[in-house]
């Protein structure tokens, strides 16, 4: 399948600090790739390099076949949508006026404003002045602005970090819909369940390298110790091996009606994350 992003041995050094040491990965057309890693591991740095906001120290990256030095191209910018933590809005203007400016910059009809606001659940607030918005509302306006021109490739840096579960869910549905329509999404998040629900593949970035890259399901299976936990009516919790010997025991408990619940002990993405990085997510 065609690669939209190709990254080869990318390195970025700030002064004497190495942010990225040797990063390589590809993003396929139409997939959602989750870029996970501890705070300070270089996720935002990677997005900035891939969107022409930072020069790599060494290595190379191509987006839509363009090398990082030619990302200022006007047509390239129409094809991508970027939401990072350094995105800003005009405080004295309304949500509508902020989006109207971007409609004109991208040559998109203003009718698009309603459509993107519906996607982020802000249709009734478009007259509100930006300085009066809550943190989560700001984040949703920024996301709406990112989606205004129907980009083929989305860079989303922690798009739901300030959102309540209901709004996160609403936006997840929206993003999945976009993805179904063919939008490629490059996403960073500290929310492992978000990565699990949205991403076709996830990459773990740690110590300047991609330590692991695969489908969440496969990773969980790979990291699973294939044990099963059985909860019994007398309150005991028993961990059983996954093979035939475990099956006999479970059968006994089941036939004597002692079982409350049975769980396979697959690790969560969070468990794998901790396993790789050795520390909890912040």
């Amino acid at each position: 399948m065609e690669n939209v992003i190709e990254v080869n041995s990318l390195a970025k050094i700030f002064g004497n600090q190495t942010a990225l040491e040797n990063v390589s990965f590809n993003v396929k057309k139409g997939e959602t790739l989750g870029f996970l890693g501890p705070s300070g591991s270089g996720k935002t740095t990677t997005i900035k390099i891939l969107t022409g906001q930072l020069r790599p120290t060494s290595g190379e990256a191509h987006v839509f076949g363009l090398s990082t030095s030619s990302l200022k191209n006007k047509d390239f910018r129409k094809r991508i949508g970027v939401l990072t933590d350094n995105s800003g809005l005009y405080n004295r203007l309304s949500i509508y006026d902020n989006l109207k400016l971007y409609c004109d910059l991208y040559n998109v009809p203003t009718a698009k404003i309603d459509e993107v606001l519906r996607l982020v659940n802000l249709t009734d607030d478009q007259k509100k002045v930006v300085s009066k918005l809550s943190k989560g509302m700001l984040q949703r306006v920024l996301l709406a602005r990112t989606l205004l021109h129907d980009p083929e490739l989305l860079f989303l840096d922690e798009p739901t970090s300030a959102l309540d579960p209901a709004n996160s869910k609403h936006i997840h549905e929206g993003l999945r819909r976009l993805n179904d329509q063919g939008t490629t999404i490059f996403l960073t998040t500290h929310d492992m369940s978000e990565a699990e629900t949205l991403c076709d593949r996830v990459a773990f970035l740690h110590k300047g390298k991609v330590q692991l890259l695969d489908e969440p399901k496969k990773l969980r299976r790979q990291y699973s110790d294939s044990t099963i936990t059985v909860e019994l009516k007398d309150g005991r919790e028993i961990v059983l091996p996954g093979g035939s010997e475990g099956a006999d025991t479970i059968y006994n408990y089941l036939s004597t009606d002692q079982v409350v619940s049975v769980h396979s002990n697959e690790p969560t993405l969070g468990d794998i994350f901790v396993d790789i990085t050795g520390r909890e997510l912040v």
Partner: protein
């Protein structure tokens, strides 16, 4: 490269709305208008007219331009413009229009108050407009070099003083050699041009002043573009 009027106009429209709600910055236009009222009683003296005009260019043109650019940086909105399909000429032209129009309005109001009627309005307008380009570039440059509006409005003060009142230092040039540069300041050149135009001299005796002002415009513009290109990168 084609320049999109639509994008320029969109940025202008946004700035106009934004500035109308930003009294901290827009209220600077009161300064030259007040000065114009004060000096209007002293009669029709060319030096006074140009004191007001130069003050307008330094305060309204350069200061407002500097503040609006610095605010785009401070609020991270410049990044959004840079990531959009808008090009450098489109962004900087769009971002200069509000300051330019406010300058023209302020100048006209001030000239009406002080009763300045140039001998050759067309030529004077052209020369002032050319000077405007320098002050726009200066404001943009300082706005790009600073991080916040507050920082920008402090950094621009010495420049406002130098370009607003610098021509008044001219009488001292004979006594203090280090002030020799004052002769070449765009504001001094503007006053000299005005005197010559007023006395009916033709283009032949004007061109050297025009060339000096144009040099200021070109140097400031090149520096501005250079710094803008640097700002496109985050490192």
């Amino acid at each position: 490269m084609t320049v999109s009027m639509k994008r320029i106009y969109a940025i202008f429209q946004k700035d106009l709305k934004d500035l109308s709600k930003n009294l901290f910055v827009s209220s600077i236009v009161i300064l030259p208008v007040l000065m114009a009222f004060m000096y209007s009683r002293m009669g029709d003296i060319l030096d006074l007219h140009y004191l007001i005009i130069n003050l307008t260019l330094a305060s309204v043109t350069a200061f407002i331009q500097c503040a609006v650019i610095a605010e785009e940086k401070e609020k991270h909105t410049l990044r959004g413009l840079m990531l959009s399909p808008a090009t450098l000429p489109e962004i900087l032209t769009g971002k200069s229009l509000v300051s330019l129009i406010l300058t023209i309005v302020t100048l006209v109001v001030c000239m009406m108050i002080t009763g300045y009627e140039p001998a050759n309005l067309v030529l004077i307008s052209f020369v002032i407009l050319l000077s405007c380009l320098f002050y726009l570039a200066l404001g943009t440059l300082l706005g790009l070099l600073t991080k916040t509006v507050v920082e920008a409005s402090v950094v621009i003060l010495p420049f406002m003083f130098l370009f607003g009142f610098g021509s008044m230092l001219k009488p001292l040039v004979d006594d203090y050699a280090i002030l020799g540069f004052v002769e070449y300041l765009p504001n001094t050149q503007l006053v000299e041009l005005a005197y010559k135009i007023e006395s009916g001299l033709g283009f032949g005796s004007l061109w050297s002043h025009l060339a000096i002002i144009l040099t200021w415009v070109i140097v400031a513009t090149i520096l501005t573009i250079f710094v803008y290109r640097k700002r496109e990168m985050d490192d």
